[in-house]
């Protein structure tokens, strides 16, 4: 964990931590030496050697002073180390958010990162004073004492020194033993929790349930499973912890008994015996103190592991010299892509001519949204290539792709600002006329009337003060204002009524004079007049493509869906869209 920490932080923090380790080490050794110095002091006291007493008391006083001064400084360094750690880790997180490929971000990512930033990194920041200092003291002080004791009497010293590897092995043993049963318990606990949540959520249904139905006993089964797994884990872990505890005890006992035996058999003088006994008694304190803290490690450690994983996540390859395409036709060549092991789109190939409007249709899960995401380079495809104007996206570079291609997804995000400000980020120095055109084309104009603040209405965090349909229109206006050569739209009319839908569709078709427009559509009637319709099948392959008339004539999947849709459409809807 300390290693991970050093890898993750900046130079400044590393220096501070290094200084902390140095200071703590010296302080720990001083503490050990102070205890060892008890030997000569006690001898001097017993033998009534006044100058000896003075001398050794002075030595202990110096060691104590050094230890205290260094401890105080180390405390202060630890705290500034924590602040620096906090800053450094948060900066790293921020940089990663910025540089990770957009495809990395899934639904739960925001929550996960937020958790990392607030509690995870907080725990990690406590590491300097909660982990580094006690662990170093817990190792160096006893080591110093053990060496000192060995110098005074090698037999007793040896006993103490042997303890170290033994304790280490026992400590690791705990980790290994609990590893498996812990995993088992964690799984059983997770199941029990999810069953309890399910049970609570589904009460309406469960209250109607038949006593004999399966659903009734599920939660109790899971709870008993958890109970039994925990019982097993306790036994395993209990044994391992007991081993460690008794080992530490045994070392202490062995050392004491050995000293006594040696004294009794006249191999050790009484004074040395006394001093040895005292020192051995306090030998185990720092070890136990360090052990007690081991619980707190795990939370900080998990965060550091997560952060490391973030750092190690590969970014997209960016070109040194981005090539800017001159044309804006789009080509997909044998593209396959997916998440996890599965491909969502398979072997997809098609060409979209410049200045046209192309529709992509297909059932849910056929990969339509994935195509859009690939086209704005959220990620690179697993196989195949995507080209704009004949240039593959990796050669264009993500920054340039971002400026050339504007996506509009179904989950829109607006900033906590006014409607006008949100639209204007697309082009801050757009003229009023350009803004008006975007507002009109996206049907934002028609919705302004209902809002008290009109364009100055604040949309709230994420835009949640507006309805889904309203947010979409604002996002559309924003996309239109940017006026990039390629515009991608994922179901742009999902949440609006038929009249608004017609207006938006008209505007999109008007775009194609000077833009390449790709629309993912579910309502087939909206894209009937597209220059090209690409039909994806449930397996993510291109099933057929062509104009509406060609596809109707072909009598395939498109025709099937078209016929079914016609049944659902009310006459007024049809009228509105097609006049």
């Amino acid at each position: 964990m300390i290693r991970d920490l050093f890898e993750l932080v900046d130079e400044r923090t590393r220096t501070i931590l290094g200084r902390l380790i140095g200071l703590t080490s010296i302080a720990a050794i001083c503490q050990g030496m102070a205890f060892v110095a008890l030997f000569p002091l006690l001898s001097a006291i017993i033998d009534d050697d006044e100058s000896g007493v003075d001398r050794w008391f002075f030595v202990i006083a110096i060691l104590a002073a050094v230890n205290v001064v260094l401890s105080v400084i180390a405390g202060s360094v630890a705290r500034s180390g924590s602040a620096s750690l906090l800053d450094s880790l948060l900066t790293t997180l921020g940089q990663r958010i910025l540089s990770l490929p957009l495809g990395y971000f899934r639904d739960a990512t925001a929550g996960r990162f937020s958790e990392m930033a607030s509690s995870g990194i907080g725990f990690a920041a406590a590491v300097p004073h909660a982990v580094i200092r006690p662990v170093i003291s817990g190792v160096l002080t006893p080591a110093t004492i053990a060496i000192g004791v060995a110098v005074i009497d090698w037999r007793v010293g040896l006993t103490l020194l042997i303890a170290a590897p033994l304790i280490f092995v026992a400590y690791r043993g705990i980790g290994r033993a609990t590893g498996h049963s812990d995993r088992e318990h964690t799984a059983a606990a997770a199941l029990a929790t999810s069953r309890m949540i399910e049970f609570t959520r589904c009460q309406v249904v469960l209250r109607a349930a038949d006593e004999n139905s399966r659903g009734v006993g599920l939660v109790e089964e899971a709870l008993v499973g958890q109970y039994e797994a925990f019982g097993r884990a306790t036994k395993t872990q209990g044994r391992a912890v007991a081993r460690l505890g008794s080992l530490v005890q045994a070392v202490f006992t062995a050392a004491v008994v050995l000293a006594v035996v040696l004294a009794i058999t006249d191999h050790l003088d009484p004074v040395t015996l006394i001093a040895l006994l005292i020192v051995v008694t306090r030998f185990t304190d720092p070890i136990i103190a360090a052990g007690v803290l081991s619980g707190g490690f795990s939370q900080g450690r998990n965060t550091l592991t997560d952060l490391k994983e973030l750092l190690d996540t590969p970014g997209l390859s960016e070109p040194l010299q981005p090539v800017v395409p001159r044309r804006y036709d789009i080509e997909f060549r044998d593209v396959s892509a997916g998440y996890g092991g599965e491909y969502v789109i398979n072997d997809v190939g098609f060409t979209i001519p410049e200045n046209s409007l192309v529709a992509i249709v297909g059932p849910s899960g056929s990969g339509k949204t994935t195509l859009i995401r690939l086209l704005c380079r959220f990620a690179d495809p697993d196989e195949g290539q995507i080209l704009i104007g004949g240039v593959p996206l990796p050669e264009i570079g993500t920054a340039t792709v971002n400026s050339l291609v504007t996506p509009l997804f179904q989950d829109t995000f607006l900033f906590d600002a006014t409607i006008e400000e949100n639209i204007r980020i697309a082009r801050p120095n757009a003229t009023t006329e350009e803004l008006s055109r975007a507002i009109a084309a996206s049907a934002v104009e028609s919705m302004i009337g209902d809002l008290p603040g009109a364009m100055a209405t604040n949309v709230g965090e994420g835009g949640t003060s507006l309805s889904g349909g309203q947010r979409q229109r604002v996002a559309l206006a924003r996309a239109l204002l940017k006026d990039s050569p390629v515009v991608l739209l994922d179901e742009p009319t999902a949440s609006v009524d038929a009249a608004t839908e017609a207006a938006i569709i008209d505007a999109l078709f008007a775009l194609r004079d000077a833009h390449t427009v790709v629309v993912v559509a579910h309502r087939l009637h909206t894209v009937r007049d597209a220059d090209l319709i690409i039909v994806l099948g449930a397996d993510g392959r291109v099933v057929e493509s062509g104009t509406h008339d060609e596809l109707i004539a072909a009598g395939g999947l498109y025709r099937e869906h078209w016929d079914r849709r016609q049944v659902g459409l009310t006459p007024t809807e049809e009228e509105r869209v097609h006049g």
């Binding site: 102070a34 017993i46 008391f57 202990i60 105080v72 405390g75 705290r79 602040a83 800053d87 948060l90 921020g94 958010i97 910025l98 990512t109 925001a110 990162f113 937020s114 990392m116 930033a117 607030s118 929790t193 309890m196 399910e198 049970f199 609570t200 959520r201 309406v204 209250r207 109607a208 349930a209 038949d210 004999n212 139905s213 399966r214 939660v219 109790e220 709870l223 109970y227 209990g238 007991a242 006992t253 004491v256 006594v260 004294a263 009794i264 006394i274 006994l277 005292i278 008694t281 304190d285 849910s364 400026s403 995000f413 309805s467 889904g468 949440s495 038929a498 079914r564 049944v567 809807e573």
Partner: protein, 619 residues
């Protein structure tokens, strides 16, 4: 004895399976935190006993060491042998007692955990559905789990550790006092001063800590915003602004932290000095050296052996007391949850299936309802839902449609007025009976992670596969089921993930099997994936035949086929009648809605589906 009682209580909670047919008329008394530990109290005392043994057995070896030192120069070695022997035995006892206390504590803790969770489950069975509905189920469980974890810590670790951490210093200090009071003072005074310093530090630092906590919350929010907005920021090249905002929050957080810790610096440095073993060692040596005595400086030796570990021990006790406090407050929180008043069950419930075919008319008679002590959400609602007909509830968000629907499903009882089914007040019907007659299909289809078969026949375990497939056909989900490799045996959530529309249709198939005469729907097509919309529409239409259906409508296209439309506004009925009649009233509410929204747009100010009816926001 304590064991038996604990086992039987746990066993009771473990096997209780009363499912909604409970007929207890009396409301059980509120649960007190102490009650929760009653089953294991005897055994906890056992752990405490072991802890006492551990503490004593920890100090005895130390006393032996002092004695050995005192008699190190003796001629006869018998004493030394005896002392060494006692030391070894005491150390062994300590090890055994400590391990035993730890292990035993965990065993007791396991029983307590099961008991607490089982109690929660048993209680959830009886609380008003409205109580569950107003909280996310994941939140309820997470809250209790967090509390259970605190209790776990308290039972399994803290009890033992606290007893030891208090007794060892106390015994050591007493022994030390007996040997030489000066060293006892040196050992204990720094500890007392440390506590005083800590108290001062905590009280003066409280405000800075609050500032830090707030900065921490802001940081977390900032991260969320940054992540959610990053793709938009990149698309419109405004990442710089986003980064700046993030950096701002970051700087504020680091500053708040530094500010807080800087203030404590002086106090912490002081504590460092006071509790450093070397400092105490030095002070003891000073006193020891100053004492004029012959022979072995027993006082100094006793001081070092007994007194040096004091500070660490007492600090450990303080930390444990924190865990103890949070364990106790966790028990309080759990007790509070378990004290939520359950739904009053009728002492002598009406048997709906009993006297001949049920008249499936539902009537709301002058119903008023509000949450808690607040303003009523709906007022004076009187509606008759004729048997076998469909009524659509229409209105803007906040108008009260969802409240009406949830009252009809007895999520709450009305504040005034009553709701009847076939003439019987809903409150007179036992819960199980009620929900076999009133089916509910809300946004969350509420399917359990078990086989499709078990899901569909959950209300009638005796339903045959034929009946199930027949219901599936009528729910337009039969083909989907047949296409699955394991068909009805397929386990949901494990072997397959259904689309929202498919899940809705499974819920509809379930309603068919239940044969409930009344149905309350939250327009299912609104939540279905686009491919399923048609099938869901057809399934709902089929399910609505010959049933009394009350449907919350989100889109006016759904409403057109209803026999009765009820328009709600601000908690009151403002219009009702047949759709064609209402449209004729051009200035009426219904007609206005048509003009504003058309057939397809969602009638709500926010896009989120009706406030969490029957489901989590994150399902």
């Amino acid at each position: 004895m304590g064991t038996d009682r604990a086992n039987s209580d746990v066993g009771k909670a473990r096997t209780s399976t009363s499912v909604g047919t409970a007929t207890t008329a009396a409301v059980p008394p509120a649960v007190r935190p102490a009650d929760l530990l009653k089953p294991v109290l005897g055994r906890l005392y056992g752990v405490a006993m072991l802890s006492v043994v551990t503490a004593v057995a920890t100090v005895i070896p130390l006393l032996c060491v002092i004695e050995i030192a005192d008699h190190a120069g003796d001629e006869s070695h018998t004493r030394l042998w005896i002392l060494a022997g006692i030391l070894v035995i005491a150390a062994a006892i300590k090890g055994a007692a400590s391990a035993g206390a730890g292990f035993y504590g965990h065993v007791i803790d396991n029983d307590v955990q099961l008991y607490l969770r089982s109690s929660l489950i048993a209680h959830i069975r009886r609380v008003p559905l409205g109580w569950i509905d107003s909280r996310r189920s994941s939140g309820i469980v997470a809250g209790v789990e967090g509390d259970v974890a605190s209790v776990h810590h308290m039972v399994a670790h803290t009890v033992h550790e606290t007893v030891v951490a208090i007794l060892v210093p106390v015994i050591s200090l007493v022994a030390l006092f007996i040997v030489d009071w000066q060293f006892a003072l040196i050992a204990v005074v720094p500890v007392i001063v440390t506590f005083l310093v800590m108290a001062v530090m905590l009280s003066t630092g409280a405000q800075k800590q609050q500032t830090y906590n707030r900065a921490n919350e802001n940081m977390a929010a900032s991260v969320v915003e940054f992540v959610r907005g990053i793709s938009v920021m990149k698309a419109f090249n405004v990442t710089a602004a986003g980064m700046d905002r993030y950096a701002d929050r970051r700087r504020s957080l680091v500053e708040a932290w530094s500010d807080w810790s800087r203030q404590s610096n002086v106090y912490l440095a002081l504590i460092d000095i006071l509790t450093s073993p070397v400092t105490i060692l030095l002070m003891m040596c000073a006193v020891g050296v100053g004492q004029t005595r012959e022979g072995t400086p027993i006082g100094l030796i006793a001081g070092i052996v007994l007194g040096l570990g004091l500070a660490a021990s007492i600090v450990a006790a303080a930390m444990n007391s924190e865990a103890l406090i949070s364990g106790i407050s966790a028990l309080g929180a759990i007790a509070e949850v378990l004290s939520t008043e359950p739904v009053p069950e009728p002492a002598e419930p009406v048997n709906l299936g009993g006297a001949g075919p049920l008249d499936a008319t539902v009537v709301m008679e002058d119903v008023t309802f509000g949450y808690g002590a607040g303003d009523p959400v709906i007022q004076g609602i009187s509606i008759e839902f004729a048997a076998g007909t469909t009524t659509a509830l229409v209105g803007a968000s906040g108008a009260g449609k969802s409240t009406v629907a949830t009252l009809l499903a007895r999520f709450h009882d009305p504040t005034t007025g009553r709701i009847t089914l076939g003439g019987h007040d809903l409150r007179e019907v036992a819960t199980g009976d009620l929900y076999r007659h009133i089916g509910v299909v809300f946004q969350d289809p509420l399917l359990l992670s078990m086989s499709l078969r078990d899901n569909i026949r959950i209300s009638r375990a005796s339903a045959t596969d034929d009946e199930i497939m027949d219901a599936a056909r009528r729910a337009h989900i039969a083909d989907d089921i047949l296409n699955l490799p394991n068909g009805l045996d397929t386990v949901l959530g494990v072997e397959v993930e259904l689309s929202s529309g498919q899940a809705q249709r499974v819920a509809i198939a379930r309603a068919f099997v239940t044969r409930c005469p009344v149905l309350i729907l939250d327009e299912p097509t609104a939540y279905a994936d686009p491919d399923s919309e048609e099938s869901v529409r057809a399934a709902v239409a089929e399910l609505s035949r010959d049933r009394t259906v009350i449907m919350i409508a989100h889109r006016l296209s759904t409403v057109a086929g209803a026999a009765q439309i009820v328009v709600l506004d601000s908690g009151r009925v403002v219009e009702r009648g047949r759709p064609e009649d209402l449209l004729k009233n051009v200035e009426g509410h219904y007609a206005k809605l048509w003009r504003a929204y058309g057939a397809d747009a969602e009638i709500s100010a926010s896009a989120a589906p009706i406030d969490a009816i029957g489901g989590d926001g994150d399902s």
